[in-house]
């Protein structure tokens, strides 16, 4: 069985999972179990397909004549394989986690939640493998729709509806830009196939406009800075396992889109593309982390931190594009490796952190950092896994976040070979900005971990918290393991990523990893070995132990007192530093930048308000138009409707059955051909 067939099997399982969760809607025990279980199995198969495809690239799947708008084509090159692997792994963890987690929403319709979640993952898998622009858009829009329903799932809350509305607006604005860019390509090439796009000779006007449309279109989904405003609210409103998927892999489908369209298909040939990407990357990184610093809501903080991380990924992509445009293969290679590696890392640790935030929310029913505290004692597993995520987020060696930042710095450093003055000016400044971002990111990580899991408990709920159920722990544990694995296994990962860059972006001639080392192009000068870092750090822990033993410190023992010292006064937990006053000093130091926030958000929010007003106006005008226009049309439609009603049972589940049946028939056809 080849990788694409296995992927189709995984999609089939997602489909069955979605269907079954609707069927077992009433029975709450099965409703909780089935979507998660089916999703886990399907993700497992998807992961298998990614592994298979990493070793032997499958031949593309082509379904001619079966459907209109050209062939339904799917292909799994190394870039798609990477994305399929990421989505499946996160799907595995999130589904495992969801089995116990969705109890949290037992007052809502759990069958629908399971249906949407399974469908959402399936759509992401299709988006990254399909090789036809038309179907790409269809799946892209379906992905947007399912996430919209997931965000507004808790629709009793008006915040959720508002969040969903802003998301819908931004996502469709982005979707429209992408559509336009594909349309331009369609007009010039007369085909919807990615292959034809790639082989076509495009003139510079077409290239530039496609680049701009695609970059900002996908950028809206990825959350680059002026277009990020939907993220904090929708990430915090969606259920946590969905947020984990949205933040970690749905964002990466947008990164995939940028890489596929802007780099793979049209190919960066001019310098300013790379500079533009670099500019928005740097802007997103610094603004994202500063906003994360200023918030008190754990999921909003993580959402802003995702903006920052997308910025770092875009820095990598920008360097890569500059490298391609200025014909410096090493720069391109390191830039793209940094971007891909950081995408992979970010999806793991941000997924992990969102799941951890969900666990805290599950027990405490709050997302406010100031009402948490001291949870490490009550929820040790959650605390441990969250800590791994926080360390990875802060790029602490030898975890995975460090390796990708290392590669980003190394990519910046290739500037010393460059003859282009602009590149020589811009890249080192971006490196300094990255350092600032890194330092602030640590502050964010310390703030989030510190005020959630350490110190005194700050609310009634927090002091009564207990560890979350096993399935949630196992989901988080899987991702924590992944973070450690991606850090220590850096040479292995990098060798695969370099294959991605070699095959998809056609950069060759350098090796970047060998045995236990990774190095930027040559192994003579500088290298990094995360396994050795881990081993040395572990073994150096012996030194302080020896020191204590030599001085006879072990005999003294330890006495635990109830409270920390408070100048002789009675201690109160209100004395400890909470998230609120933790970031005060940053707020005063970077006052100017925080002013920017309102400036950035105002126009977008006013557009949102304006469109809402237009909608209201239309609703008001409706009765007037009714008599003139609507009546004859309604009559005709009524007549037609009665005929069609034979198919319409009026039950959502039946419609879903139609969709699934169509999917199943398609799959049978596929297997017949394959």
């Amino acid at each position: 069985m080849d990788a694409i067939q296995l992927l189709l099997l995984s999609l089939l399982f997602f489909g069955i999972g979605a269907l079954l969760s609707l069927l077992f809607n009433g029975n709450s025990r099965y409703t909780r179990l089935i979507p998660g279980m089916m999703g886990t199995i399907a993700s497992g198969i998807g992961l298998g397909s990614a592994f298979l495809s990493a070793f032997s690239t499958p031949s593309p799947l082509d379904l001619p004549a079966a459907l209109p708008f050209g062939h339904f084509t799917m292909q799994m090159d190394f870039l798609s394989t990477l994305l399929v692997g990421m989505i499946s792994f996160l799907g595995l963890a999130a589904n495992l986690y969801s089995i116990s987690y969705i109890e949290h929403f037992s007052d809502r319709n759990l069958g629908v939640l399971g249906f949407l979640t399974n469908l959402f993952i399936a759509m992401m898998l299709l988006v990254v493998t399909v090789a036809n622009a038309f179907y790409f858009l269809v799946f892209w829009e379906l992905m947007t729709l399912t996430t919209y329903f997931l965000i507004t799932f808790k629709n009793k809350r008006t915040e959720a509806n508002r969040a969903g509305y802003v998301y819908m607006l931004m996502a469709h604005a982005g979707g429209a830009l992408i559509m336009l860019s594909f349309f331009i390509l369609f007009i010039t090439t007369g085909s919807f196939e990615f292959v034809d796009f790639r082989n076509a000779q495009l003139n510079s006007i077409v290239k530039n406009s496609v680049f701009l449309l695609a970059f900002f279109g996908f950028g809206a989904k990825a959350g680059i800075v002026p277009l990020h405003i939907w993220m904090p609210s929708s990430y915090s409103e969606a259920p946590s396992h969905v947020t984990a998927l949205m933040a970690s892999v749905m964002k990466k489908t947008a990164i995939y889109g940028i890489l596929r369209i802007c780099v793979d298909i049209i190919g960066p040939s001019v310098l300013w593309w790379g500079l533009l990407v670099l500019f928005f990357g740097a802007l997103s990184a610094i603004i994202g982390v500063l906003f994360a610093m200023a918030d008190q809501d754990i999921k909003r903080i993580l959402a802003y931190s995702s903006v920052e991380n997308v910025g770092i990924i875009l820095l990598g992509i920008g360097i890569g594009m500059l490298g391609l445009a200025s014909r410096q293969p090493l720069m391109a290679l390191l830039g793209f490796i940094a971007a891909l590696y950081h995408s992979l890392n970010h999806s793991l640790y941000k997924g992990l952190l969102f799941l951890g935030a969900g666990s805290v929310d599950y027990r405490l029913r709050t997302r406010n950092l100031n009402e948490m505290g001291g949870l490490a004692k009550m929820m040790p597993w959650t605390a441990w896994t969250f800590m791994v995520g926080a360390l990875a987020l802060s790029a602490i060696p030898p975890l995975n976040g460090f390796v990708s930042e290392w590669f980003t710095y190394q990519a910046f450093l290739t500037v010393f070979n460059s003859q282009v003055f602009t590149i020589r000016v811009v890249l080192p400044l971006c490196a300094a900005l990255l350092a600032l971002t890194g330092a602030l990111a640590i502050m964010v990580a310390v703030k989030v971990y510190g005020s959630t899991f350490t110190g005194p408990t700050r609310s009634e709920n927090a002091s009564q918290a207990s560890e979350v159920p096993g399935s949630m722990i196992s989901g988080m544990f899987l991702l924590a393991l992944g973070c450690v694995g991606l850090g220590l296994g850096a040479p292995f990962i990098v060798s695969f990523l370099s294959q991605v860059v070699f095959t998809v972006f056609h950069v060759t001639g350098f090796t970047v990893s060998g045995s236990v080392w990774v190095y930027p192009g040559d192994s003579v000068n500088n290298m990094l070995s995360t396994p050795f870092v881990a081993i040395l750090l572990m073994s150096l822990l012996v030194v302080p132990l020896i020191l204590v033993a030599v001085y006879g410190g072990n005999k003294a023992g330890r006495r635990v007192v109830k409270d920390p010292w408070a100048c002789g006064y009675g201690y109160s937990s209100k004395m400890s530093i909470s998230a609120g006053n933790f970031d005060h000093s940053v707020a005063t130091t970077f006052k100017g930048i925080y002013l920017l926030r309102s400036m950035i958000q105002r126009p977008f929010l006013s557009i949102a308000n304006w469109s809402r007003r237009v909608r209201d106006q239309i609703t008001r005008m409706e009765p007037v138009l009714e008599g003139i226009l609507k009546k004859p049309i309604t009559k005709a439609i009524d007549f037609l409707g009665q005929k069609i009603q034979l198919f319409q049972m009026g039950d959502v589940r039946v419609y879903c059955l139609y969709i699934i049946l169509t999917l199943a028939i398609l799959l049978v056809v596929v297997f017949q051909i394959g």
Partner: protein
């Protein structure tokens, strides 16, 4: 890449700095006393303090958890690893096969991360404020350090500290204006990182009860203090390795007897560190304390110097 001699040198470096670090802090303590017209406790006082603290019972608040108990060990381990990577005895990086200057910067980050979380974990107000200050200073200083090191790496064409050190020592990178400005900015940054007046943070006994260390006692406090002494010396060593690597062996493979040349280099290194501590102590005692919130106003100057260093690099002077 990996040679036995280099590994031995790396271990010797870490050991030497570990053993002499309290001496240097004692020296600066003694010097401060002299400048205050006091007699002072003598340069060996820190060893006596550490020995005594080690034997004392540890008193910890109930809320203290994993980070609080392990931070002293992690701090020590990561700083020692830094000392194995920085070229001290030779101009080569003894453990250069483990990582480069980016790893060194991020190992300092690891230390900062665990110390500040341990401060929050104790639940004490003082240690909480101390943690926050520690992190804010790093936010202000880290871009300076990285930009300067980046310019040096650009000049050397490599992020390996050994390569930079060797190229400076052999004159392959002459002292351009950019190098001198970088040296200035880096000296400033490492001065701040060492926790000295007017940015006094780690040692602000009167004001903040030693910041994140407030709740530490007994052997944990001893290890924490020792770790911080070692970290201060390692910052000085990093400065000398990148900007003034004179006296270090340029190659360990020449005919010079191995042992005697190591001893010679160590002596030179210790003298250089002593000189640095002398200057630092002079500066520290000549300055008044600065309101913390004003720190950012001053660190911009360092960032300015770093930017200028970069501009001069672009102009090739």
């Amino acid at each position: 890449m990996i040679s036995v001699k280099l590994i031995i040198i790396g271990l010797i470096q870490a050991l030497v700095v570990l053993l002499v670090a309290p001496l240097f802090s004692g020296f600066s303590r003694q010097m401060r006393a002299k400048m205050h017209n006091r007699r002072g406790p003598g340069v060996m006082q820190n060893y006596r303090d550490l020995a005594k603290l080690m034997k004392r019972q540890e008193v910890v608040p109930e809320q203290a958890g994993w980070f609080f108990h392990n931070a002293p060990y992690i701090t020590m381990a990561s700083t020692l690893l830094v000392l194995m990577i920085i070229p001290i005895i030779t101009t080569q990086s003894p453990f250069g096969w483990v990582g480069d200057l980016i790893l060194v910067v991020y190992l300092y980050t690891l230390t900062r991360f665990v110390i500040s979380i341990s401060g929050l974990e104790s639940g004490s107000t003082f240690s909480g404020i101390g943690s926050r200050r520690e992190l804010l200073v790093s936010v202000l200083i880290e871009p300076v350090i990285l930009l300067v090191l980046f310019v040096m790496a650009l000049l050397a064409g490599s992020t390996n500290l050994g390569v930079i050190s060797t190229k400076i020592a052999t004159g392959q990178i002459p002292y351009y204006t950019s190098v001198l400005l970088g040296m200035l900015a880096f000296a400033f940054a490492s001065y701040v990182e060492m926790g000295k007046l007017p940015f006094d943070l780690g040692e602000a006994e009167q004001e903040l009860q030693e910041g994140p260390l407030t709740e530490y006692s007994g052997r944990a406090l001893a290890l924490m203090k020792w770790g911080i002494y070692v970290k201060q010396v390692s910052l000085v060593a990093l400065f000398f390795a990148v900007f003034l690597p004179f006296g270090s062996m340029t190659s360990i493979l020449t005919g010079v007897p191995f042992l005697s040349s190591i001893i010679f280099s160590i002596v030179i290194f210790l003298l250089k560190v002593l000189l640095a501590y002398f200057v630092v102590a002079l500066l520290e005692n000549a300055m008044a304390r600065l309101r913390f919130i004003k720190t950012s106003v001053i660190t911009w100057a360092a960032f300015g110097a770093a930017i200028l260093s970069f501009v001069f690099y672009l102009a090739n002077v």
